[in-house]
Amino acid sequence: MFKKKFLEGSQAIAEAVALCRPEVISAYPITPQTHIVEELANLKANGKLKAEYMYAESEFAAASIVLGASATGSRTYTATTSQGLLLMTEVVFNIAGMRLPVVMTVANRSIGAPLNIWNDTQDTVTVRDAGWISLFAENLDEAVLMHVAAYKVAEKLNLPVIVNVDGFILTHMAEVVNMPTQETVDKILPKREAQDTLDSANPRSLGTYALPAHYHLFREQMHSDLVNSQKEIKKIFAEINKFNPDFTTNLTEEYLAKDAEMAFVTVGSLMGTVRETVDELRGDGMKIGAIKIKSLRPFPDEEIRKICAKIPRLLILDKNISLGTEGILATEMRRALYGSDSRIEAFTLGLGGKDITRKDLREIAENQSDDKNVNFR
């Protein structure tokens, strides 16, 4: 059912996408997403992938192509990062508004200026409010299965899904990865059964004009569907969990948090270094734990309230910042925990690929500062 391989992240992600049997792929290459779409093009060229592969002239075009293809009932895929995601933004909102189950990988990278090609999560948080489900992978095993889950979730709920993988840190990391077989993926992910699709034999329009009252209702429905999507996402995660127990069911993961007096909270690949740091600090006698958030949208408020109820201090680690305030995860945590006694401290670190080390995290845990709201590291 699974085979251990030593693969570069981009290759693992491309192979996982191919196992999901997409029918239309369109993308425009941009560092550090390039290896993913190159590998998909390779698979197509070698006859191992049946999809239509359309090389677009820009990210705006790539997103528009998958929008159209998805509207006709196809399973579609695109991938981008950074400035490419910004160029797509208008289409990103339209894909969600038309309730199209597009799956997109964002190989997280900083936003210029200054020009910088390295990792942080500033790109994906700029489309936080577009109406997409937004998932974050910690390692390659999780990234691979999250793509399979993403298609199932998207097509079940008619909501598009972004799978976030940290640029370079995951996309260019070769490590041991459990690749599911085609048979396993086929068991999890049936063929897309699209409804209300565009069909030239039976012409219809999509995303047409909506007057104020009507528009408001559309958005309200999107909102409640996104809030309620948590149940369905967990159900699908649970289904995949039966195949690989490391792929956990909830939208959060606790690490030594039960008796913790203090806990790091973060998303994505940083969690690996956080776990190592927690182990070291526990060895020094510090009662510290960590919480991983797997989904920025929907944001798992209930789960977080339950886990954090008994943790007096939360150290939120963001690789992005709403300039002038604080990191996005920090603000989300304050909202989810409004009225709770937990003290929330926001840290923005690792912007533009600045390496985040155990030493940095240890300093955050050991030197609590009372007079700063945002700590830049």
């Binding site: 030593f6 570069e8 560092t31 200026a113 200054p114 090609i117 390692n139 370079f168 840190i169 260019h172 990391m173 070769a174 490590e175 041991v176 690949s269 940083l270 690996g272 270094t273 776990r275 190592e276 390496d355 985040i356 080390t357 155990r358 030493k359």
Partner: protein, 278 residues
């Protein structure tokens, strides 16, 4: 856990070398991690790559701070003090160089030197050092079996590259030194990154201030009699370091020339030949 840090220049294959080592370790049932730290994506620019090996899954994602082993593919990198960051007396460094550096280096561990460049140019016909360096690493540290490295080449390189790379690796494995060399050690404190200007503006031709000449393994030699003074070489030079001399013959400033060879390629009368740097 064992941690290996590779230092090379774009085009010498350091990143591929790290991936190859990862494959070889995986074949020996180790959990391995291999990842690059790209700088500017240009031939000759300094590049780092990292490999971790352990008996259990590796969660750590930080770059390697305290390497057990250092692979230095090019002796011109010794000018960069950060190459030795986080090392100590126990660190094993392997260096592509015929002999130990004749100037003090920021290092206190064991240094093994071997002239990979000459053999690589002889056997591969190109200055690519990764497979040679891995042969040396395997010999000196025993971290991986030669056999596993050969399998990694066969599984990851196109077939036409197998024979030469395996030959190079085997030859270096057989002939490389087993004793560390003597060198002068001078430990210095690492520099902090200075605060940038808020606008991040740069003046025109600011790259000309970088002495990229030490990136080069080759340099252009100009035949003044053949040169027809057309200036095409100066037009294509990515460093803008080619200008006419007093006689009007176009010549490169070797303190800036990275040895990319574009000038030699475009010269309509073949007045420029690329020569290996001593």
């Amino acid at each position: 856990m064992q941690e290996i840090r590779f230092h090379g220049r774009g085009g010498q294959g350091a990143v591929t070398g790290a991936y190859l080592l990862g494959h070889a370790l995986f074949a020996e049932n180790k959990y391995a991690q291999a990842f690059p730290s790209f700088g500017v994506e240009r031939t000759g620019a300094p590049v780092e790559a990292f490999v971790r090996a352990d008996d259990r899954p590796i969660r750590l994602r930080e770059q390697i701070q305290n390497p057990d082993m250092l692979v230095i593919q090019d002796k011109t990198l010794l000018d960069i003090p950060e190459v030795f960051a986080g090392t100590n007396e126990e660190t094993i460094a392997i260096l592509n160089s015929k002999e130990a550096p004749n100037f003090p280096i920021n290092f206190a561990g064991k240094l093994y030197c071997c002239d990979i460049t000459s053999l690589a140019v002889e056997i591969l016909g190109r200055p690519i050092f990764n497979t040679g360096m891995l042969g040396l690493l395997a010999k000196v540290t025993g971290i991986v079996k030669l056999e596993s490295l050969i399998r990694a080449i066969e599984n990851n390189f196109p077939k036409k590259l197998w024979e030469t790379n395996i030959k190079l690796m085997e030859k270096i494995y057989a002939e490389s030194p087993t004793q560390p060399c003597n060198y002068i050690s001078k430990l210095i404190k690492h520099m902090e990154t200075p605060n940038p200007k808020p606008t991040n503006s740069v003046e025109p031709a600011s790259t000309a201030k970088n002495n990229t000449g030490n990136w080069a393994t080759e340099y252009p030699e100009v035949d003044g009699n053949k040169c027809m003074k057309c200036g095409m070489c100066a037009n294509v030079c990515p460093e803008g370091c080619i200008a006419p001399d007093a006689e009007g013959v176009y010549r490169a400033d070797l303190s800036k020339c990275k040895g990319c060879g574009l000038c030699a390629q475009v010269c309509p009368v073949k007045a420029i030949t690329m020569k290996k740097k001593k």
